[in-house]
Structures are given as C-alpha cells and as structure tokens.
C-alpha cells in the first residue's frame, strides 16, 4: 500500500515539473525544433547531467534497490533500424502534438481535454504496431 502511494506521489511530482517547466507546452517544443531558445535543451541536458552521475554511481557502488536486489538496468537490444525509424515516427508526432507521453497526461490533468484525442490515437498506434511488428525491420 505504502509502495503504491509512493508511485502516485512520484507521478504527481513528475506531472507538476513537466507542466511548470513547460515541457508540456506545444510552444516550447516548436521553439526547440526551431533552435530559438535554450530552455528545452537546458532541461534535457541538466536532467542528463544529474542522471548520468546518479546511474553511474549506482552501478559503480553496486547499490541495491529497496528490496535488496542488485540494480540492473536492462540493456537495449543492439540494432539501428527500430530506434531510428521508430524514433522518426515518434518525433513527427511529438512535434505535431507538442507533447511526449508524460506531458500528454499532465495536460489532461490541467484541463486540456482535447488531449484525449491524442491518447486515443496513441493507443491505436500502439495496437497497430503490435499487429504489424512481425513485418517491420528491427
């Protein structure tokens, strides 16, 4: 029960940060892809700086998670086509809608109800991938 509450609280913190720092603003995503502000680059860059230090610390100190298990970050399969082609599709959608998956749900909470159309589209797109994945290069 306690653990469940922690996941909800972490999500709340994430939603607040995404909205307040404007990673959920369509305008900011447009500005980023036009290289007209440092804001989003600073956001991703500073997240990475802290993320790299933290993850490397976990790995080098062989830390355990709260259940005492080794911290293992699953390595991604080594290939190029799926990341590149899939990435291009996601980038097209990200720029058009001006929000990636996390911010989409922060926007829903903020009262932008038309974002439900995006969520329906994303579920349909995910299902479509599941149907045709056997035929796609990975």
């Amino acid at each position: 029960m306690m653990r469940k509450l922690i996941f909800v609280l972490l999500g709340i913190a994430f939603g607040i940060v995404m909205y307040k720092a404007e990673a959920a603003s369509w305008f900011r995503i447009f500005e980023m892809f036009n290289f007209q502000s440092f804001h989003m680059y600073g956001f991703i860059g500073s997240a990475l700086a802290v993320g790299v230090i933290g993850v490397q610390y976990f790995k080098r100190s062989q830390s355990k998670d709260v259940d005492g298990e080794d911290i293992v970050i699953q390595p991604k399969a080594k290939s190029i086509p799926r990341y590149l082609i899939g990435g291009v599709f996601f980038g097209l959608g990200w720029a058009l809608v001006g929000a990636c998956p996390g911010p989409i749900f922060a926007l829903l909470g903020s009262g932008v109800f038309s974002i439900i159309i995006v969520i329906i589209g994303a579920l349909a797109g995910t299902y479509f991938y599941g149907l045709i994945r056997k035929y796609l290069p990975h």
Binding site: S46, K78, Y83, F89, G111, V118, A122, L131
Partner: protein, 182 residues
C-alpha cells in the same frame, strides 16, 4: 511567489526529473512512460487479438499509478501552482507562429487555436499526432523518458540512435510539414 507561479527554469525542471528517475531505479523500476500505452491496450483486452499484448500487464500496475499521479500533478500545477501560466517563448518563435495564424503565441500555455477549437482539421491533427506517438514509441521501444533520459543516463548507444531519430522526425515536421499543414 512569482518563483513558484511563473515558469520553472530548466535548471530546476531537468534535475528534478532526473531525481524522480533515480528514485524509481532505487525502487527497482525503470522510468519509461510510453510503455503505459501497451499496458493500457493489454488491460482493455488487446491480448485476445494480438500476442504482443498478451503479457502479465498487472506487473506494470506501478507505472499506471505513476501515470495517475502525473494527471493529478498536471491538475495541481495548472490550478494551484499557476495562475494562467503563459509560456514566454522567444520573439522569433512568436512571429513565426503568428505567420501560421497562431495569435495565442506568447499569450498562452498552448496554442488555443489548436487545442480549444475542435474543428475537423484539428481533430485529425491530434489523432494523427497520437497515432505517430503510439506507433513510434513502441517501435523505438521508448520515448523521451525511456531513451533521452534513462537510456542516455545509462550511456546506451541505442538510445542515442533513438534520440537522433526523434530529432529527425521533429525537424521534418516543424520545417517541412508545418508549412503544408498550417
């Protein structure tokens, strides 16, 4: 108060997101938001018609709780920690957007012309954008959280390939397709 109610600077937002990711790792989970779409498909029964969704989605319930929190967080941010927050984007972006007919640029959080006017064209834009996001994230095995933040923090090169793909797609959309769409 302005510090709380205004735009949070990147050097506050970025590190906070990284700390959230590190706490999730410490809890034995991996930060990846878009996999929730697969979980939701499985939860509504897509596993019956497609084996990609035939997995123990209940093991991902923690991520759905995180998603629920994200919705609540968006509510709190917009209603309790902001008073009609406006994204103070650059003058160049504002003039470029005004040329596309987005008069709300620089005066709102989002283009109201796109999100608060459910014309057939806007519905198609939002639906197609969502389709690309759902299809692309699952094909690439992650979105901004899974690849750009978690994957790169772990120095995994496939995530760098994915992020390069994200930018190719985004640049294509904004520079080649926007003039045709708007």
């Amino acid at each position: 108060m302005e510090m709380i109610f205004g735009t949070w600077p990147w050097y506050v937002g970025g590190p906070l997101v990284a700390i959230i990711m590190l706490i999730l790792i410490k809890l034995g989970k991996s930060f990846g938001f878009s996999s929730n779409f697969r979980t939701m498909c499985a939860a509504i029964g897509a596993g019956k018609s497609c084996d990609f969704f035939d997995f123990n989605w209940k093991s991902q319930r923690w991520n759905l709780l995180f998603l629920l929190g994200t919705i609540i967080g968006g509510f709190i941010a917009a209603n309790l920690l902001a008073n009609n927050q406006i994204a103070p984007i650059s003058e160049e972006s504002i003039s470029a957007l005004q040329a596309y007919g987005f008069e709300s640029a620089g005066k709102a959080y989002l283009p109201t012309e796109l999100f608060f006017d459910l014309s057939p064209k806007n519905i198609i834009i939002l639906l197609v954008g969502g389709l690309f996001i759902g299809f692309g994230t699952r094909y690439a095995g992650g979105c901004t959280s899974g690849h750009a933040i978690s994957g790169l923090s772990d120095l995994q090169w496939p995530s760098l390939v994915a992020v390069v793909g994200f930018f190719i797609g985004g640049l294509l959309m904004v520079h080649i397709l926007f003039p045709l769409i708007f």
